[in-house]
Symmetry: C2
Subunit: 233 residues, 2 copies
DNA sequence: TTCCATTCTGGAACAGCATTCCAAACGTGT
DNA sequence: ACACGTTTGGAATGCTGTTCCAGAATGGAA
């Protein structure tokens, strides 16, 4: 009566949760977030939508599972190649997630839609362990790790939105940024002095460097608020 | 041949962009993000979808416009009631956005989907002006303001996702958090020590306090990296 | 006033989506 | 060979954003 007793059921080519998730990732990578539909998935797997629903609860479930597969690889990889220093490990973990979300914008978008789910917990766990190692007092650990996580999610979500916007408009990244830049530089000078002043550097900036700057800002804040006092390390 | 010459065209009850946006906000507030459909909007405005499309380019346009109306009020209000101290103003602005996104989760979700658009620029401008006032050197202003913005967006997006998740499951906030907490506390102890250790305080924590802690962490990092040196304020 | 071009309306129609349903095919233990 | 639970895949459902278009309302010109 068990649902999964034997190991190799059916023929080799049969459907399985793993095969569906793998195909979903390929679809998401090649066509973007909007490319993952049950129709396209059915076609690629040479089956019907009904068959997929036997293995997958919903599209939400599918997206989270695909996201988790990618995030798990990233987190494990980042932690393995990092040394023992907590700050360096934290930076490696954050940069690993940034690179993953830059290469696969749908990951950032999926992460936001899965609060408390497995992929997010993986990242949160990795961050939290390093936060503890940094010597943050227990009562501040939750808020500190949450802040880092939310920052990473914010950048990833923004990157995903930018990429999808560019795709729907048929532009590449630089074309999109130039468009935004020119709009910003035409804003009302009295109301938007800051946006106008930074509009010029918008198409030139390096997302990755800016991301790391933000991480270092938060790390600096953690260091400054340590019980030992706000002195140098 | 101009499109908008006279001021009061048509009868008083006629459709207008403003009236459509207002109705959209009411719909979003009462039914959540999924509640905004052109059918529901048509019904509420006693018209057809085609009439709405005469004033609105797309659903995306509509969502951004509704978001902008709310964000504009929040930003203006936060800046007006704040004093002159840049840090306090920054905190007031961030808290104002948090409260708005907590009361209307769809705002956080909409903000993420509108990179470079008016609502985001309003927040970015407010943040950027205070960053300048804090004495951040020009070459760091962009990255610093971006970090703060991304953090705010990350928290808002997460809040939106949580609320929508609770709504689809027919739970309230505490019910959702208790569910997540119990899942986390049943994770593999060897792999998830941190998540397990903080699972207990998950249903009890105060989002607003945690949000402000994150803001202060970034502000602390900004203070620590000022040219004047990492001394006390 | 009468006419007309323009602006605006609203209902029908369309393509695409996630999801559900179900009859048939398949494998396996008897 | 039989029967039974598992798995399949195609049709059907109800929803979505968007387009289309016949025609009503409106303001200026004749």
């Amino acid at each position: 009566m068990g649902k999964k007793e034997g190991t190799s059921q059916r023929r080799e080519e049969s459907l399985s949760r793993e095969r569906i998730i793998e195909a979903s990732i390929e679809l998401l990578d090649s066509l973007g977030e909007a490319g993952l539909t049950f129709r396209a998935l059915s076609e690629r797997l040479a089956t019907g939508p009904g068959a997929i629903y036997w293995h997958i609860a919903s599209k939400r479930d599918l997206l989270i599972a695909a996201c988790d597969a990618v995030v798990a690889r990233t987190v494990d990889g980042s932690l393995r190649e990092a040394g023992a220093a907590p700050e360096a490990t934290l930076r490696a973990l954050a940069l690993g997630m940034f690179d993953t979300m830059a290469a696969r914008p749908w990951v950032g978008s999926a992460l936001i839609q899965a609060p408390g789910q497995l992929p997010m917990v993986r990242i949160f766990e990795g961050i939290g362990q390093q936060v503890c190692a940094l010597g943050v007092p227990p009562e501040d650990q939750w808020a500190t790790a949450s802040a880092l996580l939310h920052y990473v999610l914010g950048v990833g979500g923004q990157h995903a939105a930018n990429t999808q916007l560019a795709r729907t408009h048929g532009l590449d990244r630089s074309g999109l940024l130039e468009g935004v830049s020119s709009v910003w530089s035409r804003l009302e000078p009295a109301d938007y002095p800051f946006a106008r002043s930074v509009a010029a550097q918008l198409p030139l900036h390096d997302d990755r460097v800016d991301f790391l700057t933000g991480i270092d800002l938060i790390l600096g804040g953690i260091r400054a608020s340590r019980p030992g006092g706000p002195g140098l390390e």
